[in-house]
């Protein structure tokens, strides 16, 4: 069942992105930035965690989850260490997206040659 919901929820988030691209006519960079901010705001209202419980990868794979986990890490650390935790905890949860992008980006640049 979670497979069906992850398909539907993930698909809907992609459609929202496509609508921002086509109807609002923004660049992909703008679109992704808007979606990340939306994810952060949703977490601020406590709405993103239930979505992950409900849709699994449908909520964790789209880029909105990046904003969600940034806020999540910051709040978790802020609970322990107070206001400074907002800064120190920022990348606590979401490190894997950025670190794997950097690592595999470097490996990719070592292995593959540019085309064209």
């Amino acid at each position: 069942m979670v497979f069906l919901w992850s398909f539907i929820v993930g698909g809907i988030i992609c459609v929202i992105g496509q609508l921002i691209l086509d109807v609002a006519k923004l660049t992909p960079g703008h679109t992704l930035s808007i979606l990340v901010v939306i994810g952060a705001i949703l977490n601020g209202f406590g709405l993103y965690e239930p979505l992950i419980d409900f849709a699994g990868a449908g909520a964790t794979v789209p880029i909105t989850s990046f904003g969600n986990s940034l806020v999540h890490g910051a709040l978790e650390e802020a609970e322990k260490h107070g206001l400074i935790g907002v800064i120190t905890g920022m990348f606590e949860v979401t490190s894997s997206g950025i670190s794997s992008a950097i690592i595999f980006g470097m490996i990719g640049a070592l292995i593959f040659k540019p085309k064209g």
Binding site: C14, A57, A109
Partner: protein, 149 residues
């Protein structure tokens, strides 16, 4: 000057081909949904064989997806899928990975420090910037509110 600009913009709008919004949305829905289902499959495997919960399994799933993206980007397959799917491949975390990895591969001819290092986050940097900054503001507001109440 201002009037001239609006006239030109009207002219430009008239010439621009109408985008097939509905068709694009259906493509984005199907491909984006399939990527998420694939992610769910990876998540399920991680939860079954390793000690991950539904909330923590996102991290290894994202790393695995970006690894696959590296292979697809390197062999030039990702661009072909992206041309068809539009936001369906851009919005999932694979799109973020593709932006970083393709920039890294493209600029390797300029050297590893200036080329790869300097250009890796050319496209994806804005996502990190606005993600981090908005997260900072939101977490700050929430923390201050929690002190008050």
């Amino acid at each position: 000057m201002a009037k001239e600009k609006t006239n030109y913009q009207k002219y430009e709008q008239k010439l621009e081909p109408k985008r097939p919004v509905l068709k694009n949305c259906i493509k984005a829905f199907i491909i984006g949904g399939l990527i998420c289902v694939f992610g769910q499959l990876i998540s399920t495997i991680y939860m079954y064989f390793f000690d991950f919960t539904e909330q923590t399994v996102g991290n290894p799933t994202v790393a695995t997806l970006i690894f696959i993206t590296m292979l697809l980007t390197g062999f030039g397959v990702y661009d072909k899928i992206a041309q068809f799917a539009g936001a369906g491949t851009a919005v999932p975390v694979t799109g973020f990975g593709n932006a970083v990895i393709s920039a890294a591969i493209e600029h390797r001819t300029e050297g590893f420090v200036q080329g790869v290092g300097g250009n890796m986050f050319k496209l994806a940097g804005s996502v990190i910037l606005f993600g981090v900054f908005s997260a900072f503001i939101i977490a700050l507001i929430k923390t201050i509110f929690s002190y008050w109440s």
